[in-house]
């Protein structure tokens, strides 16, 4: 694998929109060519090299390209957007849209991410060591086709709107989440290892949610149907099994109504 290192040396006045920081855009270019890639700060066009020191050489294809950003990206948007292969590692925080519309490859952020991390993701893996703000693995506004595949792991807390309109893939929040998990979802799996305030599975048609902590306010549309033993992300425990959202439409298959499943760890 060929490694390209970007070292931020100047903080932008506003925020940089860097759709170009991805193995797909870097592959087959020289360090000098990468420095010449155009990014945006508001309405002005600037060059990647104006803000980052580029070294190393990418591979010929995205698969063979690893990107290491040796510094904080708190004011950098769209890292790894639409990437299909390769990897990106950031030593620090990243701003909005990390791995948005991502199709493959791996992103590792050692700090926190802002909102819209993994929005409309289709494949690949995102690991965030810190916290995430809102809309982790959510759909874009007005789109009924949310996250379709891949894995997002947030090692810290997350805000609201996790997996809205989700169709597939897995989201793991290792600490607590605020509200609205898998709203409108029709597939996929969300695992919250901490507590959630409420609105878990609202308007949910299909899919699974696991909550290893507590849900403060349970939705009235979820009904307990039993208790099951499960092994979830390295934790074996007994879970209360709920189905729902009973207020929402549900498909029928082989003479049976298909519901979404909510598993809450039995205390």
């Amino acid at each position: 694998m060929a490694l390209v290192t970007l070292k931020p040396y100047k903080e932008p006045e506003l925020y940089l929109e860097c759709n170009n920081i991805s193995p797909d855009a870097f592959a087959g270019k020289t360090a000098a060519e990468i420095s010449e890639l155009e990014v945006r700060e508001g309405k002005t066009r600037v060059l990647l090299g104006d803000y980052f020191e580029v070294s190393g050489k990418p591979g010929d294809t995205a698969e063979e390209t690893d990107i290491h950003i040796a510094g904080d990206c708190s004011r950098i948007k769209y890292l790894g957007t639409k990437m299909t292969a390769g990897s990106i590692k950031v030593d620090g925080n990243a701003d909005m849209y990390v791995g948005g519309w991502m199709k493959g490859g791996k992103i590792h952020i050692t700090g926190n991410v802002h909102s819209f991390c993994g929005i409309a993701m289709e494949g690949g893996e995102i690991i965030v060591d810190g916290n995430a703000e809102n809309y982790v693995g959510s759909a874009y506004r007005g789109d009924w086709r949310g996250m379709r595949g891949g894995t997002i792991r947030i090692r810290g807390n997350a805000g609201n709107d996790i997996g809205t309109f989700m169709l597939g893939g897995t989201i793991i929040i290792e600490k607590n989440a605020f509200i609205h998990v898998s709203t409108h979802a029709e597939g996929g799996c969300v695992i919250i290892k901490g507590d959630v305030e409420g609105r878990v599975g609202g308007q949910m048609v299909k899919g699974d949610i696991y909550v290893l902590g507590k849900i403060q306010y349970m939705l009235p549309g979820f009904k307990k149907i039993g208790t099951v033993e499960k092994d979830i992300d390295g934790v074996s425990a007994s879970f209360n099994h709920y189905i729902g959202d009973l207020g929402e439409r549900h498909p029928r298959s082989k003479g049976k109504d298909i519901y979404a499943n909510l598993f809450v760890m039995a205390s």
Binding site: L14, K43, S115, F116, Y140, F165, I179, R199, L246, G247
Partner: protein
């Protein structure tokens, strides 16, 4: 002799009443009296004749005082500030006409600005829910003539839309509602006992911030499933009673306000309200409507959707296409994250409505207010440009809360030399074209559209 002008539109709330009568002085420069208006609407007409109104742009000086300047200087300053900024934000439009909004759209495109309206801090979540889930709505005329079960969720029209209940929702006698309020069942969902709640047959005093759970309970009940004994602080029996009234109604109308779309969950509360409306339609006829705040706050949604494809939070900074994603391109988020470097406040009061931290960030950069009156935003601005009052001194098209366009009239002449929003922003656009040595294509095209000869000459 003073004369009465009839069928005047009222530039106050989203009800956009168009049955006002206004008595104007001989010289057509002063409003003497109004009929049919609510107290607030009445005040707006009298306010226009206030002797304390500014009639020239006022520029902040280095020592903090303000100095009157000419309109040409103000236009030049605004054009230069917009061109210099990397990402200007133009926000407001609660109280202006569609012509003004369209002119600002042309300026924003030229400036590569973010264009946002008061929906951003008001019914913006409703837009997001509508994108996600549709909008089974109707006109206020249909409410008046058909609705026999009216639900007010987190809104208080008795205070915020004073004539709403008498013109459309509770009291009027309509074609199928000949007995007026005797025939209507009123349900109010509000954590407080508001004056609207006092009028209701059923008042569900919900725990604040649990709207989503209560909607979910209604939906679960409507599909024949059981619910817990208490949801969101409301007893199961009350929920069943209210759900029964709605199912048995001939036409159910849900009006919702900030209490629904600005508690936790925001767009999701509206989203599930829309789903509830859809569910109700398998039992009876049901419709839903946002209680839009200002008389033409539905206007920017209409105008900019036509111009750019999005109703609010329109980021035009890319120059090639419009981008919209509230949370990123919404005014408060942009301000709080220090993402804009010039702010133009048009026909609203960001100084009063924004969080103080957001205003502090915006104040680091040029801050311009375009508004007929003195307001908190005008008093902290670097430049305040007064304009004519729409609906009083300036006619124009406005969109009522049900998205019905209404042509508003002018009743008196504005102060001498004071332009309308449209005139002002067209001049800003022309000045920007001069400064960038580009052709003012929109002005030329508008000449064609109006059939005027300016473009052909």
């Amino acid at each position: 002799m003073p004369k009465w002008i009839t069928q005047v539109g009222c530039p106050y709330c989203g009800s956009s009443c168009d049955d006002l009568e206004v008595l104007v002085s001989d010289d057509g420069r002063k409003v003497l009296e109004t009929r049919n208006a609510c107290v607030i609407g009445n005040e707006i007409f009298h306010h226009a004749s206030s002797p304390n109104r500014p009639t020239r742009p006022r520029m902040r000086q280095e020592d903090g005082t303000v100095k009157e300047i000419t309109y040409d200087e103000a236009i030049d300053y605004t054009a230069k500030a917009l061109l210099k900024a990397k990402k200007p934000l133009i926000y407001g439009f609660g109280s202006t006409n569609c012509e003004g909004m369209s002119a600002v759209g042309r300026v924003a495109e030229k400036a590569g600005a973010v264009l946002d309206n008061c929906a951003s801090i008001c019914h913006g979540p409703s837009f997001l829910a509508i994108f996600d889930n549709g909008y089974p709505s109707c006109t206020l005329g249909e409410v008046k003539n058909r609705a026999d079960v009216v639900l007010f969720w987190g809104c208080n029209p008795m205070h915020a839309h004073p004539r709403h209940t008498s013109r459309y929702s509770i009291f009027p006698r309509g074609f199928f509602t000949t007995k007026g309020n005797m025939q209507r069942t009123i349900i109010c969902v509000d954590p407080r006992e508001t004056d609207t709640a006092k009028l209701a047959d059923i008042h569900l005093m919900i725990d604040q911030g649990h709207d989503y759970e209560l909607f979910d309970a209604f939906r679960t009940v409507l599909r024949g499933h059981d619910i817990p004994d208490v949801v969101a602080g409301i007893k199961k029996e009350q929920i069943l009673e209210a759900a029964g009234k709605m199912k048995n109604g001939r036409f159910v109308m849900i009006f919702y306000g900030m209490g629904c779309c600005h508690t936790d969950g925001r767009n999701h509360n509206v989203d599930i309200a829309i789903s509830t409306t859809r569910d109700l339609n398998s039992h009876t006829k049901a419709s839903i409507m946002a209680m839009r705040g200002h008389y033409n706050i539905a206007g920017p949604g209409q105008v900019w959707s036509w111009q750019f494809g999005f109703p609010y939070c329109v980021d035009l900074s890319r120059g090639t296409h419009a981008h919209m994603n509230p949370g990123e391109t919404s005014s408060i988020d942009l301000a709080m994250r220090d993402e804009v470097d010039c702010f133009v406040n048009v026909g609203t009061d960001a100084g009063a409505h924004f969080p103080i931290e957001a205003v502090r960030h915006l104040k680091k950069h040029p801050f311009i207010t375009v508004d007929p009156n003195i307001c908190m935003a005008s008093e902290i601005s670097d430049l305040h440009i007064p304009v004519r009052v729409v609906g009083v001194e300036e006619p124009g098209v406005v969109y009522r809360m049900d998205n019905v366009p209404i042509q508003f009239k002018k009743v008196i002449d504005g102060p001498d030399g004071v332009p309308s929003d449209e005139e002002l922003f067209d001049k800003v656009y022309e000045r920007m074209c001069e400064l960038t040595e580009t052709e003012p294509i929109w002005i030329l095209n508008r000449g064609h559209a109006h059939g005027s000869s300016t473009a052909e000459q």
